[in-house]
């Protein structure tokens, strides 16, 4: 079902964990549909992503895309990180089964959410970055029960 690369990133996920006092943290997804991704970014004064960590609740594809996404943005500038699309993550993983494509969207959104958080904390605007829509909130969680 999964490519060897996906299995590799699932079995040995890169950059799992958290960053204390991270420059930006983004959480996207929803426990209801079974996927939550949280990405921590450590960004230096020059706008370079020095370190990145993630935590994910989700299926094999969700874990692998989180892992790959962190690899793709590490050491990059903010503008370069914005270019890491779900397509790029998928290609780097040698593809995903069709039903799992939404997982790769989540990885892109998680990076955007972390960058948005960074921008807000620093009172800056990042060109080309829109407010992430998938941020989970407590109210949304409770709504349907």
């Amino acid at each position: 079902m999964y490519s060897e690369k996906v299995m590799d990133h699932f079995k040995n996920p890169r950059n799992v964990g958290e960053i204390e006092n991270a420059s930006g943290v983004g959480t996207v997804g929803n426990a209801k549909c079974g996927d939550i991704m949280r990405i921590f970014l450590d960004i230096d004064e020059d706008g370079i992503i020095q370190d990145v960590k993630f935590k994910t609740f989700g299926c094999g594809a969700a874990v692998a895309t989180s892992s790959m996404a962190t690899e793709l943005v590490k050491g990059k500038t903010i503008q370069e990180a914005l270019q890491v699309t779900n397509k790029a993550v998928m290609e780097a993983l040698d593809g995903l089964p069709p039903v799992k494509v939404h997982c790769s969207l989540l990885a892109e959104e998680a990076i955007h959410a972390a960058l948005w958080d960074y921008a807000e904390k620093n009172g800056i605007q990042i060109e080309g970055l829109e407010k992430p829509k998938n941020d989970i909130s407590e109210e949304e969680e409770e709504e349907d029960y």
Binding site: E18, A31, C33, G34, D35, R38, G58, C59, V63
Partner: protein
């Protein structure tokens, strides 16, 4: 290759070697069509009769009440659609439950699109159909009650005797999907007032592709597959002779071993559930603790997603299944887990392990150790676990 621990016997079972042996002559040696006149074809006919006799005896039915089909799903489809067709002049209302197999639920949805009304009964937190609700749901135009004998996901055994009694009192037909229960618990159709019953061979160490529908004498439902005069003109198509022979043998074996086998399975099942609950925090058992199929264990591990759990178990040679969305092919977790009241995020972390006759205590120990390791690893990676721990500790 490391030893495989197969714990998905509710999905399918290994065809028993004795069953295969019994089937083999009916492929290349006695391959005659049972509908023919010559002696050679009669060999096939006799073999079918023998299997039918064994199976009828197993559930206390008459031989001419057993109809072989292509499997459990076909039997369910036939029972519901043909009953609806045959009894629509009496009424167009059917009662079922929210936790049925999709072979029932999707057939009911189809019937709803074709002018029938269906009531889907709620179940309690253990997955047991509420009898009071059943009584309230009955209307003058109710023609059929279809409630499963035991649930395929959480193993809960339904109060079939009570349901049969209620159905009989109201003059309503009662069908039960016994695909998971047949061979695991004793079933007597007369005692339980069952009018129709679906079963499948491959769930009890028989071959795939053969099932049956028991239809009580006097019920006038018609053929679902049109064609030749096979199965007393009620199910056309040249009989799957090797399959039927294998089904018969599997039932014979299952019946003979039932008491001993299920007692052993119950012990292992309870041992596994107790160890997991004791040794892995934030874990729950789904379904009724005692009133459940002897081979069914269904657990939820909070903060963990089911598919990840399955892949990691598979890496250790352990086969199980999950009710998480990612394994169901939709965005929603199992309808059964939602029906017993689990919130989505907990239902996503479910794991079903179904034991077989060859499961050992050592297997259970290996599985517990594997799960401890895997669940810890996945929780360390889980933002839900992180949030919970920060909030509470």
């Amino acid at each position: 290759m490391k030893k495989m621990i197969y714990l998905d016997n509710a999905a399918t079972t290994r065809t028993a070697p004795e069953v295969v042996e019994t089937m083999l002559p009916y492929f290349s040696e006695f391959y005659g069509n049972a509908s023919t006149v010559y002696e050679f074809g009669q060999k096939s006919k006799e073999a079918i009769s023998k299997a039918r006799e064994t199976i009828a005896g197993a559930i206390g039915a008459k031989e001419n009440e057993i109809y072989f089909t292509g499997g459990g799903s076909e039997s369910d489809n036939w029972a519901l659609k043909a009953t609806a067709e045959a009894y629509k002049s009496k009424g167009r209302h059917i009662i079922t439950s929210k936790i049925e197999h999709h072979a029932i639920l999707h057939t009911c949805e189809w019937l709803e699109q074709n002018g029938f009304e269906v009531t889907y009964l709620d179940v309690d937190e253990f997955g047991v159909v509420k009898l009071e609700e059943l009584k309230k749901a009955i209307r003058p135009d109710t023609i059929l009650i279809s409630i499963m004998f035991a649930n395929n996901e959480i193993g809960t055994i339904e109060p079939v005797a009570e349901i049969g009694k209620i159905a009989k009192e109201h003059g309503i037909l009662f069908h039960t999907d016994a695909v998971q229960a047949f061979g695991q618990v004793p079933i007597q159709v007369d005692e339980l007032n069952i009018d129709m019953l679906s079963a499948s061979a491959h769930k009890l160490n028989g071959p795939k592709g053969v099932g049956l529908l028991y239809i009580r004498k006097g019920i006038k439902i018609r053929s679902f597959v049109h064609g030749g005069a096979q199965e007393r003109k009620r199910r056309a198509g040249t009989e799957n002779v090797p399959g039927i022979v294998g089904f018969g043998k599997a039932v014979e074996l299952a019946l003979a071993s039932m008491q001993e086998r299920t007692q052993k399975e119950c012990e292992l099942r309870d041992y596994l559930m107790e160890r997991v609950l004791r040794e892995i925090p934030f874990t729950r058992v789904n379904g009724d603790r005692t009133n459940r199929l002897p081979n069914n264990v269904n657990l939820c591990f909070q903060f963990v997603e089911g598919e990840s759990l399955l892949i990691m178990l598979d890496m250790k040679g352990i086969c199980g299944s999950s009710g998480s969305a990612c394994t169901s092919g939709s965005l929603d977790p199992s309808h059964v887990l939602l029906a017993i009241g689990l919130p989505h995020e907990i239902a996503h972390g479910s794991l079903r392990l179904t034991l077989g006759s060859d499961t050992t205590r050592e297997d259970m120990d290996t599985v517990v150790e594997a799960m401890k390791e895997i669940v810890t690893q996945l929780r360390e990676m889980s933002p839900l676990y992180e949030d919970y721990m920060k909030k509470n500790f």
